[in-house]
């Protein structure tokens, strides 16, 4: 598949990271533009006028926004290379359902833990555990534990989402002083995340732990400051 591919992203954005993972899984050559979110490029504003956010993939000058939409586009456009979604419509529906759950429910809950303290943080923490429990129950059937990839033999859309949200869980847990991935409570999810985080592809794509720690501390202090204001 010919055509120039440019990804407008940002190192700290999990949405951006999951698109990078997808591009690399497919072996697609792309140019990367690191956006300064306080000084967004004119192209980004033109390519995503509705949200003005990363990631935006530009293929042959045509922009696509929304990380999960981008990943589905990648899968439909580059048919050679590993599949990012399964072929069977029912399996695809499950992937879309769980991707939505991870993004809307689990990610939001983790974010709440980052931005709060005291009782509010405790409540947020309980939410995270509730969501992890649901996830554990839900995917137990689909993941044999034999390979890190939830569907088939290579990283797919759901793996990129999990990697981008939970891949840095050790650092999150350290910085926040909480425990998310308890291998006894969530054996399937924990082994999946651990295996994904160990992959060379994940290690080379995901931001280094020190940078993640710095980001979490920054986000947290900013949120707590404005809450106290």
């Amino acid at each position: 598949m010919a055509g120039r591919v440019v990804l407008h992203g940002m190192w700290a954005s999990p949405y951006s990271k999951r698109v990078e993972l997808a591009l690399k899984v497919k072996g697609i050559e792309y140019e990367y533009v690191e956006e300064d979110l306080k000084n967004k490029s004119e192209e980004l504003l033109r390519y995503n006028p509705v949200h003005k956010k990363v990631p935006v993939l530009v293929h042959d000058g045509k922009p696509i926004a929304e990380s999960l939409v981008i990943i589905e586009y990648i899968d439909e456009t580059w048919k050679e290379g590993p599949r990012l979604l399964p072929q069977d419509p029912y399996e695809r529906a499950k992937v879309r359902f769980w991707a939505g759950f991870l993004q809307q429910q689990l990610f939001e809950a983790i974010f709440a833990v980052i931005k709060t303290d005291g009782e509010a943080q405790e409540r947020a923490g309980k939410e995270v555990h509730e969501k992890l429990k649901v996830l554990e129950e839900g995917i137990k059937g689909s993941y044999s534990g034999g390979s890190p990839f939830i569907n088939g033999n290579s990283m797919g859309l759901l793996d990129t989402v999990v990697c981008s949200i939970l891949g840095a869980h050790k650092i999150q847990e350290e910085v926040l002083g909480v425990k998310f991935l308890d291998p006894e409570k969530y054996p399937t999810v924990t082994s999946w995340v651990t295996a994904l985080a160990e992959l060379p592809l994940a290690k080379e794509t995901m931001p280094p732990p020190e940078k993640v720690a710095g980001l979490l501390q920054f986000l947290r202090s900013k949120a707590l400051e404005s809450a106290a204001a």
Partner: protein, 224 residues
């Protein structure tokens, strides 16, 4: 071909979206009306994660979340397509579906809240409409899908066809026809198109039900 069942609720826009897709595609199905305060054991078994309708059951396989269901229908029954074939065009449609899913809950927050919370939701709802008015695909055509209805029309239909009742019940105007002429024309086209016109909740029943629920909610001592 395995049978199709839809667990739905007459008041729910999400339920209606799936009905529209099924009927537009001519897919025969059995409809099961769920009594929401008294969810059936089957529903809880099919959607243990959210315990919500709609749930589509194809054979014995449940699919949840209205837009996930509709993509499943599209992939399983390709007749009367609800998505374009070109990958970039598909991505644009899915972008807008995601946009509508993300922003439209604000309309429901206007319905069920008061004060500052309602004001914020009003602003977000109006901004959502502005974005659709200005940037929505296929300007000048009957539908966001061009000459025919696509999944973006279906997604927005689940918002636009409920806004009127929400406005009446909450006393707030979200959809000013003068400010949103394009969307206004779209709404008339959508509501009058066959299949949709025959599958809308009774306006009076809807208004009554929403009014009752709202009063109950706002007067309850646990309301924040």
């Amino acid at each position: 071909m395995d049978g199709v069942k839809l667990h739905g609720f007459w008041l729910s826009p999400f339920s209606h979206r799936v009905v529209w897709a099924l009927k537009l595609k001519g897919i025969p199905f059995d409809y099961i009306e769920e009594d929401l305060p008294n969810k059936s054991a089957l529903l809880l078994q099919y959607n243990p994660v959210h315990k919500k309708i709609p749930v589509l059951v194809h054979g014995s396989r449940p699919v949840c979340e209205s837009m996930v269901i509709i993509e499943y229908l599209e992939e399983t029954w390709p007749q009367c397509p609800l998505l374009p074939t070109d990958p970039h065009e598909r991505a644009v449609v899915r972008f807008w579906v995601k946009f509508i899913e993300e922003k439209s809950p604000n309309v429901w927050i206007v319905y069920r809240s008061v004060g500052e919370e309602q004001e914020k939701a009003m602003r977000e709802s109006v901004e959502m409409l502005s974005n659709l008015e200005e940037h929505g695909p296929n300007k000048g055509k009957k539908f966001f899908g061009g000459d025919g209805i696509n999944i973006m029309d279906i997604a927005f239909g689940g918002v636009a066809c409920w806004i009127g009742a929400i406005e009446e019940v909450s006393g707030r105007q979200i959809f000013d026809a003068a400010k949103f002429p394009r969307l206004n024309a779209w709404k008339a086209n959508f509501k009058s198109s066959p299949v949709i016109a025959e599958n809308l909740p009774d306006r009076e029943k809807l208004r009554e039900h929403l009014a009752r629920l709202r009063e109950k909610r706002l007067s309850s001592s646990t309301h924040k």
